[in-house]
Each structure stands twice: as C-alpha cells, then as structure tokens.
C-alpha cells in the first residue's frame, strides 16, 4: 500500500514537489510562529522564572509586571513578619535613562535586587559569563546582558556610564537575559537602583520575594499576605502565568502569532487537498478497476491516506529543518524561537491531521466511485 502510494505521488514529480512544499511551508510557519510566541512569552516571564522565590508580592491592582506601582519598606516588613515566611527580599523595578557613549540616552529597565547573601538571593542576574558578580553590591555597579551591548554601545566589562545622571559601571555580563519590552534589562543592587531613581523615594520597593518556611503551604501564606492592605501575593508560577497572559492578551501578540500559524495550516490543507484530489481524479479509472476486482473501499482509502501521510511526513521533516534555519537567522535579530520537543510533537500531530483532512475530498470521491463506471467508456 505504501509502495503504491509513494509511486503514485512520485509519478508526477512537479505535483509531488508542490505538495511537499505546501506542507513544508505550513509546518515551518506553525513552528516558527508558535515558537516565536513561546519565545516571547518565555522572555516576558524570564525574570520571574529565574527567581527561586515561592511567592511574589506586589501592590494590589498591578496589571503589568514591568509597570508595577512601587510601595515602601513598611510593606516589606509587614510581609516579612507574616507567619510562614522564612525569608523575604526586595526588588525594585523601574525605567531609567542610560547614557550612551555618543551622548544620547536610551531607556533601560532597572532591576534592583538585594545583594547576594550567604543563603543565596531569591533573585540575581543569571547566566553570568564575564566580570565579577560579587561586585554587584558596590555603589553604581550594574550587570547587562551581552545581547544589549551593541545597542548600549558597551564594548567591555568595566565600561562606565551614567544612569539617570548617576555614575554606573558594568561589572558583569550575562547571556540570554532579554527584555520583553525592548528596553534592556540592567541589574543593580537595591541601593544602587534606589540611587538611580531618587524620585521614587529612598525606600521604594516594587516586589517582595518570599521564601516560605519548610513545611509551610505557599498558598496559605499567600492568603495571609493578601489579607494585608494594598498587597497581592502570587505563587511564582501564578505570577509567571499572569505576566504571560497579560502580554499575550493585552498586546494581541498571541492572536497575531496564532492567526499566522492557522493560516499556515490552511495553506497546507488547501495545497495538499488539491494535489491529492487531482491525483485521485487522474487515477480514478484505476481505482475503479481495483474496486471492480473486489478491492474493498477501505483498501483504496488506505492508498489515499498513505499518500497524505507520506506528504505529511516529508513536509514535516523539511518544514522542521526550515524552522531550525529560521531560528538561527532570527537569533541574529535577538528573536527567540522556542522550539521544544512538545511543540514538534504537537506540530507533527497537526500536520498528520491536516493532511488526513485534506485527503477527505479524495476519500469521498473513491468511496462514491461506482465500480461499474469502469465499463462506461
């Protein structure tokens, strides 16, 4: 059956190439679009996901992770004293102006974290590849990702500049720490971050990160914190999901990517459907002959489905290769295409289903084919 299907597909090579191209483009579009979406979403929640906190506490009413309203240290101390909280740390996040070597300014996202301590911080720059992270506690010390060096015209660790007019020195370099908002992320110690943004007050805090005590239930602790005035606590996973959902729904980025992916599936469906149908029409007398000779409908349908599956398999392999090439090309543009094994499996299933549905018209045609028609001229 496979042999017949393969030979029927290959007999008209141009038609075969068009069918495989259709599936390949479809697979590539699905993988790249959904991969880009997941890449964006991973970036959107990367700071949260990189923390080792059990809970994130912010001001009630915050919608966006990046544009959160700050509060002051009193709230931090209230959180730290809630039963079940083993350890709490402050994070200050806000936007500031970074002075570039040519004299211009660029908006950056300051993430002020508490200086590393013996127990290990709940939030700190990760993937450090150069410099000395232990210096982050020094006044004016900042840590910036390698991917932002060109944009900020930094050429080495040790580069000095100004942030909101305050002297700053790059003491370490990370990799893979990207901002969803396009403003480069600049890590600093909490005190340094506060010095960059004096207008927020000397004790400004945006988030309190909480590590719950051993044996304590994080949700129960979150409920106790939620009972405090003006504060909202989320588990780290809930905070991550909330941030992803915010960016996905508020910006329409999710709908945009998925619409393109669906269009890709539709293109594949139409191309494969048309190719299979024209192939079925071309061999309709031969199919009729087989039916006349006693071949069951199921046997003939298997030939058509086999053609669909061969198209799906080859298209998936080529489309996956194209998606990997695209991923490499987009990396240069600082775009992350997150191609996970799960995405490949899901796309393979979508491709198989798409090609099977595309074969439906052909299947209906042969099911309705009257074997007596082979005697009619």
């Amino acid at each position: 059956m496979w042999n017949l299907a393969r030979k029927l597909l290959l007999h008209d090579k141009l038609r075969f190439v068009v069918a495989i191209a259709g599936v390949s483009v479809s697979v590539m579009l699905v993988l790249v679009q959904v991969g880009l979406y997941f890449g964006f979403m991973n970036t959107a929640s990367s700071i949260i996901d990189a923390s080792t906190a059990d809970l994130w506490v912010g001001k009630k009413g915050n919608e966006s992770f990046e544009f959160a309203t700050p509060f002051d240290d009193r709230a931090f101390y209230r959180v730290a004293s809630v039963p079940g909280v083993a350890h709490a740390e402050r994070v200050l996040m806000n936007f500031a102006q970074f002075k570039i070597a040519d004299g211009s300014d660029l908006g950056v996202q300051i993430v002020g974290v508490e200086t590393p301590r013996a127990a290990g911080p709940l939030m700190a720059p990760w993937n450090v590849i150069a410099g000395d992270l232990s210096r982050i506690g020094e006044p004016g010390a900042i840590v910036i990702d390698r991917s932002e060096y060109a944009k900020l015209k930094i050429d080495h660790v040790g580069h000095t500049t100004e942030v909101n007019g305050v002297r700053a020195e790059v003491v370490a370099m990370t990799t893979g720490v990207r901002s969803f908002t396009t403003s480069p992320i600049v890590f600093a110690d909490l005190k340094t971050a506060r010095s960059f943004m004096p207008l927020l007050g000397t004790d400004a805090v945006t988030y309190v990160l909480v590590k719950v005590a051993p044996g304590a239930d994080a949700r129960a602790v979150a409920a106790r914190i939620n009972a405090l005035p003006h504060l909202a606590a989320y588990t780290t996973s809930a905070m991550s999901a909330r941030t992803r959902t915010y960016w996905s729904s508020r910006t329409g980025v999710g709908a945009g990517f998925f619409t393109t992916a669906v269009l890709g599936v539709i293109v594949g469906f139409v191309v494969v459907g048309q190719i299979l149908y024209s192939g079925t029409l071309q061999y309709i007398r031969e199919y009729g002959t087989l039916k006349a000779m006693g071949a069951r409908n199921s046997a003939v349908v298997r030939v058509i489905l086999s053609q669909a599956m061969i198209s799906a398999l080859l298209g998936f392999v080529i489309g996956s290769g194209l998606a990997m090439v695209m991923r490499g090309a987009m990396k240069g543009a600082n775009l992350t295409v997150a191609l996970s094994p799960g995405l490949y499996v899901a796309t393979a299933i979508i491709t198989a289903v798409m090609c099977s549905f595309a074969a439906l018209l052909s299947i209906v045609k042969v099911l309705r084919l009257d074997p007596a028609s082979v005697f009619k001229g």
């Binding site: 042999n3 017949l4 007999h11 087989l290 000779m293 071949a295 069951r296 409908n297 005697f375």
Partner: protein, 252 residues
C-alpha cells in the same frame, strides 16, 4: 500477432468443461422511475459455463455493458436472478459484493486501466494485495507467475508506457487472473488493439478457457472474434435477440 502456444499455459486442475459457473435468469434493469424510466435490459437469461468463451455483441446502447455489469456483480438488476455458487446473489447488499467479485471474477478493459506509475509486476501485485488474495512476497511471486503465464516474463519491470498495447492488455489479463477467478469478463478488450494484436489477445483468452477451464465473457463489436467463441449472445434494444453456438454458426 503474438503467438500463444496454448499448451504452455498449463492447467490449474480445470473445472470440467460445461460446468455451470454462473446463471442469469430473467434479468431486467430499469434506470429511473415513472415516465422517465428507461429499460436497459429485459428478461435476459444466459448461462456461463466452464471452458467456454462467450461473446456478447450488439449495437451501442443495446444493453451489452449492462448485461456484463450485472453478471460481474457491478450492477444490481431490478428484476431476475443472478446465480453464483448455487446461490441467488441478486439481492445481496453492497458490502457482500466485493468479496464475491474478488473470488469469482477477473476483469479486462478496453483501456487497460493500469497504474502508469507502477511496473507490470507491481500492477498485478497491487491487485492481488488489494483483493486480499495474497500479500508481501507471496503476492510478488504470484504476480511474477501470472505475468510469465501470459508470456511477459521479460517485461516484469517495465512501466505501462514502455509496453505495447498488446503487452498492456496481457498485463491486464494477468491482473484479472489474480486470485484465480473462474470467470473472466472483458469489456471490448481488443478494441484499442490492431488486428494482429487483438487476435493474439483473443487467443490467450481462448486458451484460458480451453486449458484452464475458465469462462470468458467478452463484449465486442468485432465479428472477427466470433471464431474464438463457443457462443455468441446478440443483444438488441435491451433484449437478447439470439444465442448461437459455434456449431450453429458453422452450419449456417
């Protein structure tokens, strides 16, 4: 003409000549209903016996195709009985018919109906597989045997495009023999062939009847083929106007 040494075909423990294989009794086929109804065939009775070649002749639209379609269980009659294996199968449902056709009939067509993408061997093999007669290596071996039987051993791996008309029809005949059906039904199998090739194909079909005890029922417009027939059934305006045996034709 491609010479066929009929003895080369050998025997498959042939059914004794004259053994009834199928019988159409009082067959009628009407298309449509009411005032638009058209009777394509009326009260047709034909016996199909082992070892015989039956030619069905008649003008276009006379009902020949309807007759062999009903005989081959491709079309259900609106009246009459179709006896096969001692059973009237005229009223059987669609689901039962493919298996009966696979077991009892092989078909040969004017246009060959070979998959152009498949070699001669593969065309026969796929038919065997899809009929459920044989699969895998057994199907390939049987397809090889059948093609050698019709003198196409050296052409096993040729595509239809690389075969002559006569060779293509031989492939179609080999395919029809797959599953060892006792009745071969041909729809103008020589119409697309030149005279020499056509006579060669008829010799082969004649040999299948004589040496292997199969019944061969062929629709044709070509009176030159009558010399291969044991009986000639003439159909006119939906009625069997005459059935003449070879001896009757010789006498006349």
């Amino acid at each position: 003409m491609v010479a066929i040494a009929v003895s080369e075909l050998g025997s498959i423990s042939p059914t004794p000549k004259g053994t009834p294989l199928a019988r159409l009794v009082g067959i009628g086929k009407t298309y449509g209903t009411g005032e638009t109804a058209i009777a394509a065939l009326r009260d047709a009775t034909v016996d199909v016996r082992a070892g015989e070649v039956i030619l069905i002749e008649g003008p276009s639209g006379s009902g020949k195709t309807t007759l062999i379609s009903i005989l081959g269980l491709l079309l259900r009659p609106t009246a009459g009985e179709v006896w096969l294996d001692g059973k009237n199968v005229a009223g059987l449902g669609e689901r039962a018919l493919p298996a009966l056709r696979a077991r009892h009939f092989g078909f040969v067509f004017q246009g060959f109906n070979l998959f152009p993408a498949l070699t001669a061997l593969e065309n026969v093999e796929i038919a065997l597989t899809m009929k459920g007669s044989k699969t895998g290596r057994a199907a390939r071996a049987e397809a090889t045997r059948l093609l050698e039987l019709v003198d196409l051993g050296p052409r096993l791996h040729h595509l239809p495009a690389d075969l002559s008309g006569g060779q293509k029809q031989r492939v179609a005949i080999a395919r029809a023999l797959g599953g060892d059906p006792p009745i071969i039904v041909g729809d103008e199998p020589t119409a697309a062939l030149d005279t020499k090739t056509a006579l060669g194909v008829m010799e082969l079909l004649r040999a299948l009847a004589t040496d292997q005890g199969r019944a061969v029922v062929v629709v044709t417009h070509d009176p030159r083929l009558e010399r291969f027939a044991d009986r000639v059934v003439r159909v006119e305006d939906g009625l069997i106007s005459s059935i003449t045996s070879a001896s009757e034709r010789h006498a006349s």
